[in-house]
């Protein structure tokens, strides 16, 4: 999973924020456009593209795109180990 792809996927869930506004350090909750609907779109995107079910309670712990990416990677790691063990 490439971080650059993740940033693009993340940015695609916004309608009015310029793509150049998104980077690893972006504190996404501070964006003018941010709302619960962006959060839902991001959770859906993560579910569909990365096959990881991330709950709002988990997402709450991430403030930057980097933190969300790290969380996703940790979940992917868990999924992989479960898969290997199974």
């Amino acid at each position: 999973m490439e971080i650059t792809d993740f940033i693009k996927d993340f940015a695609a869930q916004f309608d009015d924020t310029d793509v150049s506004d998104f980077s690893l350090e972006t504190r996404f909750r501070e964006l003018d456009e941010w709302s619960s609907l962006n959060a839902l779109a991001i959770l859906n995107m993560i579910g569909k593209k990365y096959s990881v079910i991330l709950k709002p309670e988990e997402m709450k712990t991430s403030n930057t795109i980097q933190e969300l990416f790290d969380l996703l990677q940790s979940k992917l790691g868990l999924n992989e180990s479960v898969f290997i063990d199974g």
Binding site: S36, N38, L40, I53, L54, K55, P56
Partner: protein
């Protein structure tokens, strides 16, 4: 209207609900005149007296069971964080309308969506209605995308940038289960 059943459902989603009172006028006005929150909503008069009068008029409709204006709170608080209106209830044709959905930014982003689902459950399940009508401004892309997750039927559009839809109970019940998997 006995809201006990509705409030019990809300508790499962970490929310509390009650009907709007005159004391909510200030908070409703605060949210509806917040430009970033109300960008795509119908314009609201910024007079507190008019808001109070609006609530007084609403309470008459509430008494006759044709409209319910909900205030939502998180379970450990008595301060509303958002509002939602189920209105134009037609028991004969088993239809209702939704609107006035506005929430402050919360730390847990699923809350406004759960309130939307709860309010639709109220119409479809508690009131046992079959069809929900709503309109969305065409430029409100995010809300449009969100509503489309429930597979509503497009009716028409007007010259004032509004698109009109209806949502059937079966589609709501099916799609809310998919959505809830991501939310709770």
């Amino acid at each position: 209207m006995n809201l006990t059943e509705f409030d019990n459902k809300a508790a499962k989603y970490g929310l509390k609900v009650r009907l709007v009172e005159e004391k909510d006028a200030k908070k409703i006005l605060e949210l509806r005149t917040n430009t970033s929150l109300s960008l795509h909503l119908h314009a609201t008069d910024s007079s507190i007296d008019k808001q109070i009068q609006y609530i007084k008029d609403y309470k008459i409709k509430e008494q006759s069971g044709v409209e319910f204006y909900f205030a939502f709170m998180v379970t450990d608080s008595f301060d509303p964080i958002g509002f939602y209106r189920v209105h134009s209830i037609d028991y004969k044709n088993k239809t209702f309308c939704i609107g006035s959905w506005i929430f402050e930014r919360t730390s847990l982003e699923s809350i406004p969506i759960l309130a939307d689902i709860l309010s639709k459950e109220f119409g479809f399940e508690q009131l046992n209605l079959d069809t929900c009508f709503f309109d969305v401004r065409r430029d409100n892309k995010k809300v449009m995308k969100y509503h489309k997750l429930f597979s509503p039927i497009f009716i028409n559009e007007d010259l004032e940038q509004n698109n009109y839809f209806y949502l059937q109970k079966s589609d709501f019940l099916h799609n809310k289960e998919i959505l809830l998997k991501n939310l709770i």
